[in-house]
Amino acid sequence: MSALISNVLTQVFITLIAVAGVYVLTGLTGMFSLGQAAFMAIGAYASGLLVIRAHLPIPLAMLLAVLLATVVGYLIGYPVVRLRRDYISLVTLGFGEAIAALLNRMTTLTGGASGLTGIPRTVGLGITAVSAVIAIALVASFKTSKYGRQCIALRGDPLAAQAMGINVTRVKMIAFLLSVALTAYSGCLYAFYMSYVDPSGFGWKKSADWVIMVFFGGVNSLTGSTIGAFVLSGLPQVLRSLQNYRYVIYAVLVLIILNFKPSGLLGEWELTPRNVKRLFAGKKKPAGENKEEV
């Protein structure tokens, strides 16, 4: 029982880190990646292989894996940040497929379709929980930083942002790399928690799931995205007894939110002391804050 809860929570925290990355990319910057899960795969495989084959200590392996993913992210980000939104999703989608093909093809290194076995199981609930909190804090401080506000500005109107002196490609690249690093790190945790990785689980559907989580909770709110990840990645477990009806219910729920609360569960609301105080004081919000980006 407690084993189940800790297992589900661990997985939710791992997802949460990836979703925090997607929030930076999609929520803050307005870019859609359908290949984000491929960076998770890179993180998982690279760190796993470095430990199994090169016998590196695990923290070092994780660090190197995140670095590797970031380098790959830079290469792929170079065209990505220069393209329009639909092309970004296409390029990242193709990238994800290419990575999956590579993992399948490089049998001697990765184990191919049979997957990579024998990764030591060292990560547990504690590490993932702490990591998730750090990741969210990181993203929260990014959001309020100069770069975060530039991201929001260029999401609204890239041209205007550029005219205001924002280096659009540079800011986009920073956001992209931050999200890649977070996703890759979640991949590292995944590998050392599951102790087994196979190439099948990192397709575009997974990336799309993360985007849905961000939208479900509130695309403009980190708190919302976090809750979205919590609810939606936990939901299939809650509905386990419903067997294959689970996904129908999941989809219906998301559709309801999209239809009737398009800005997501929380809209733009963030969990900050000021907002909490205001919530309980029941005061009317200033007019400006109520306008959700619709």
Binding site: R84, G94, L102, I212, L258
Partner: protein
């Protein structure tokens, strides 16, 4: 590289074309990538299969039923997934999320009905292949090619020559102004979904004939997506050209490099193409506001 490979490529490309047109049509009008298109294909093919199961009817009734089912599913999808977003004038990103969710929903429903079994359409053609000299062409590919061409020509006619088509183009250009000019945009958008649903139904049946029926059959929508982007998002001609090109290039790479590496090479080519000709083959310049 033999002629046969080219033929195979065109056959693959023509099915991508069917997928890509339905995809591009929605993009043309609503400016978003409709990822539920794939699941619509699967669902309508399955509806046709179950309604006509064991009746021994031929290809044409199957196509008609699938097309009708596709139209209905797309119409429901428009209502459930997109209507309110449309009326709210939400950003296109919501359509994207909604369409993926809708796809999950359809796929889930198909899985409930059909997940635990294998299905395949009965054989529609008495002679499975046509031989021209040394080259072999599947009858199903030829029929598919012809039917796609007919469907696409009808579509082109509707869009270019009819009042409906004009209305559709007007809405594609500027929805609000078109509405002010007295065009019932909701009705036209519904019709667009119906047409894309019909194309999805036809594509679904041919996919089923080629690859048997299974709940994730529609994941080939990704190819339609790639094709329509290469073609120039929203352009129907571009989508068809892009699809055939994608089919041929993929097939050639497959025969040269083998599986796996051909996927990587396709990705590389696509990347280079997008960097040097971001407007796609047709060069239609869709302006978008984030």
């Amino acid at each position: 590289m033999s002629l046969q490979i080219l033929i195979n490529g065109i056959a693959t490309g023509s099915i991508y074309a069917l997928i890509a047109t339905g995809f591009a049509l929605i993009f043309n009008v609503l400016k978003f990538s409709n990822f539920s298109h794939g699941a619509t294909m699967t669902a309508s093919a399955f509806v046709a299969y179950f309604l006509l199961e064991g009746r021994g009817l031929g290809l044409v009734p199957t196509l008609l039923v699938a097309a009708a089912a596709g139209a209905l599913i797309a119409l429901v999808g428009e209502f459930v997934g997109f209507r309110r977003i449309l009326l709210n004038h939400s950003s296109a990103t919501y359509f994207f999320v909604s369409s993926i969710t809708l796809g999950t929903l359809y796929e889930g429903l198909v899985t409930i009905k059909a997940g635990s079994n294998f299905f395949n359409f009965p054989r529609f053609f008495s002679t499975p292949t046509i031989n021209i000299g040394q080259q072999v062409i599947s009858t199903s590919d030829v029929v598919m090619f012809c039917i796609s061409m007919v469907a696409l020509l009808i579509l082109a006619f509707i869009i270019q020559k009819t009042r409906l088509g004009r209305a559709l183009r007007a809405i594609s250009f500027d929805r609000d102004t078109a509405q002010l000019m007295g065009i019932n945009s909701t009705r036209i958008i519904q019709l667009t979904f119906v047409i894309s649903g019909v194309l999805a139904g036809i594509a679904g049946v041919f996919l089923g004939i080629k690859y048997t029926l299974y709940p994730t059959l529609g994941s080939l929508v990704v190819k339609g997506f790639i094709a329509s982007v290469i073609g120039g998002l929203g352009s129907l001609t571009g989508a068809v050209i892009g699809a055939v090109l994608l089919g041929v290039v993929e097939t050639i790479l497959l025969s040269l490099l083998g599986s796996g590496y051909s996927t990587i090479a396709t990705f590389g080519i696509m990347l280079v193409f997008l960097l040097f000709r971001p407007q796609g083959i047709a060069g239609s310049n869709v302006q978008e506001k984030a």
